[in-house]
Amino acid sequence: MFSHRHARGLHHPTAKQGGIGLLALLAGAAAVWAVGSLISDIKPSDSARKERQKGRRIGSGAPDEAKSAVVGRTVTIHRPKAELYDAWRDFARLPEFLENVESIAVLDETRSRWTVTGPAGTSFEFFSVITEDRPGEVIAWTSEPDADVRNSGRVEFRDAPGGRGTEVKATIAYEPPGGPLGQIFAKMLQREPGLQVRRDLKRFKQLMETGEIAVAASRRAES
């Protein structure tokens, strides 16, 4: 959730490839955004800001509020709360749907070591510690103080109305590193801060609702 490895698989063809439609389509969409529908995606929502404050209290490993970016996203998943919580609590499984997390080694009840893909094919590691854990309700974690990219995450599960399953809300905060790499990083994230969380949550939903993650590839090697 901290970088954009997905760029590799990004299928945003140029207008030329797509005939005349895409530009007109995006120009039209831009007019819709202008009235503000996407603003909430770009600025942290109020609830996301609260999470950030909670994150700060936890320890010095949490990202510095002033410098960090916060993104939040909610999806409804048609599975019981407990099942979704259990799946997320099993950190070793997260890389299945967190696109840019290569692996997570669970070290003990609360600590884990994450290997994450960074910009331009780099990869980096950090230790993460669970800071809040209420079965069926919420899981939150934050990086330990020496992390290159200080970050924290929080996933909340609450019953959706009308038997629609569970609303899963993920909030991620991170403080990009300094230096040139950090700048590339920040640029990539600014472009569409919510993108990675959105995609990761979508994959989580696909996995939990359908037992598999949707891919368009016709062959295993391409998927």
Partner: protein
């Protein structure tokens, strides 16, 4: 395998590609026996749909034999003969459980679902062979196809029905049916249908089956108008008659109770608004050309229903929202929720209540698909529907 691929505007080719494989547990592989070219494919052929990539395999109307079954599908077996819906749907998400399959939240992969979310505000289902807006799944104008979520979509068809009789369950028959259903037809109703392509023709047939007293078909192609007439519709040739006044004449001055736009984003004609739209489309100021839709909304009686099976992908100008509001019209639309209609329509085909083969004008080998596209695009009057055989 051999497959029809898209390379740009009016450039499609039959090429050799690697065979598809089972990728996810719920997949099957289908060996295609028959596949059709759709009016929707023409929008791709004309470069009207964004997010196409050179090499994409087209085709979303297909059927064939199951040749491989993933371990997650326990309902199909090798050798089954299936028709595959053009909509890919997971069967488990909120929308699928509401039978709104074409809004499936899971079948459009996470990275491609961003585009419809950005442009439309929400995800749309994955579709076969229909651009990277809808997943970029390889289509069925090919010898072999990977079919995801195969325990939800494909329907097994009995051996006593021919390919030609059941193939259109994949799209245009349920599309025409849903278009008519969206008209909420009541006794005494007149339904007017713009476009006598395959979708319009099935909408006409469906509207009559649903009890419409009168169906009026509008087009400018003689052969297609004749097919509509043979189904029992009255016809208006828009090249020689004023559609609005003809419709009022035929409905005692009331106007049709329901109107169907089975034309979509590439309206023909030399109505002034259409020429302006055409120019804007070329300049990328507008993505769709909605002349038929404007006319339909204008002609629809107050309190009537507007059903839009015709495909639109983006934005239109001069949308007559005033007529919609002031006349209190109801608009219903959507990519067809194919899965929802299959069992019932298959029964109706078996009982010979619906004629599904009357519109097929050409049967050609897949190898000739590029020529078939050209004919369907350039000689549409006589090329009403092409079925490709592999």
């Amino acid at each position: 395998m051999r497959a029809l691929t898209w390379h740009g505007k009016r450039d499609v080719r039959v090429e050799t590609l690697p065979d598809p494989e089972i990728v996810n547990p719920r997949d099957i592989i289908v060996r295609v026996t028959s596949t059709a070219i759709c009016g929707s494919d023409l929008h791709l052929y004309h470069g009207m749909i964004p997010a196409m990539m050179p090499g994409d395999v087209l085709g979303h109307e297909f059927m064939g034999e199951v040749v491989e079954v993933g371990r997650g599908n326990t309902s199909l077996k090798k050798g089954d003969r299936v028709v595959v819906p053009f909509v890919i749907a997971c069967g488990a998400c909120f929308h699928c459980r509401k039978l709104q399959y074409s809004s499936c939240e899971n079948s459009n992969p996470a990275d491609t679902a961003d585009l419809p979310e950005t442009v439309y505000g929400h995800q749309t289902a994955g579709l076969f062979g229909y651009s990277h807006l809808t997943g970029g799944y390889a289509g069925g104008q090919a010898e072999l196809v990977r079919v995801p979520y195969s325990d939800v979509g494909p329907i097994v068809v009995p051996e006593d029905l021919t390919d030609d009789e059941v193939l259109f369950l994949s799209d245009i028959l349920p599309t025409g049916w849903m278009a008519a259903e969206n008209c909420q037809i009541e006794e005494g109703d007149t339904v007017a249908v713009w476009g006598c392509g395959p979708v319009g023709l099935f909408a006409i047939q469906s509207a009559l089956l649903m009890g419409a007293s009168q169906v009026i078909a509008i087009d400018h192609m003689p052969t297609r108008l004749e097919l509509a007439q043979r189904l029992g519709a009255k016809v208006i040739d828009f090249s020689s008659a004023d559609v609005y006044s003809a419709l009022l004449d035929m409905t005692g001055g009331i106007g049709p109770d329901a109107v169907i736009d089975a034309v979509g984003m590439e309206s023909h004609g030399f109505a002034f608004d259409n020429i302006v739209d055409y120019a804007k489309q070329m300049l990328m100021l507008e993505s769709d050309r909605p002349s038929a839709l404007r006319q339909a909304i204008f002609a629809c009686r107050a309190g009537g229903r507007v059903s839009i099976p015709g495909v639109y992908g983006g934005f239109v100008d001069k949308f007559p929202i005033g007529a919609v509001m002031e006349k209190g019209l109801t608009i219903r639309s959507g990519q067809t929720h194919v899965q929802k209609y299959l069992p019932r329509l298959l029964d109706m085909i078996r009982e010979k209540k619906i004629d599904t083969t009357f519109l097929i004008s050409h049967r050609m080998p897949l190898e000739d698909a590029a020529e078939a596209y050209r004919m369907f695009s350039d000689e549409p009057d006589t090329t009403t529907k092409v079925v490709l055989k592999t």
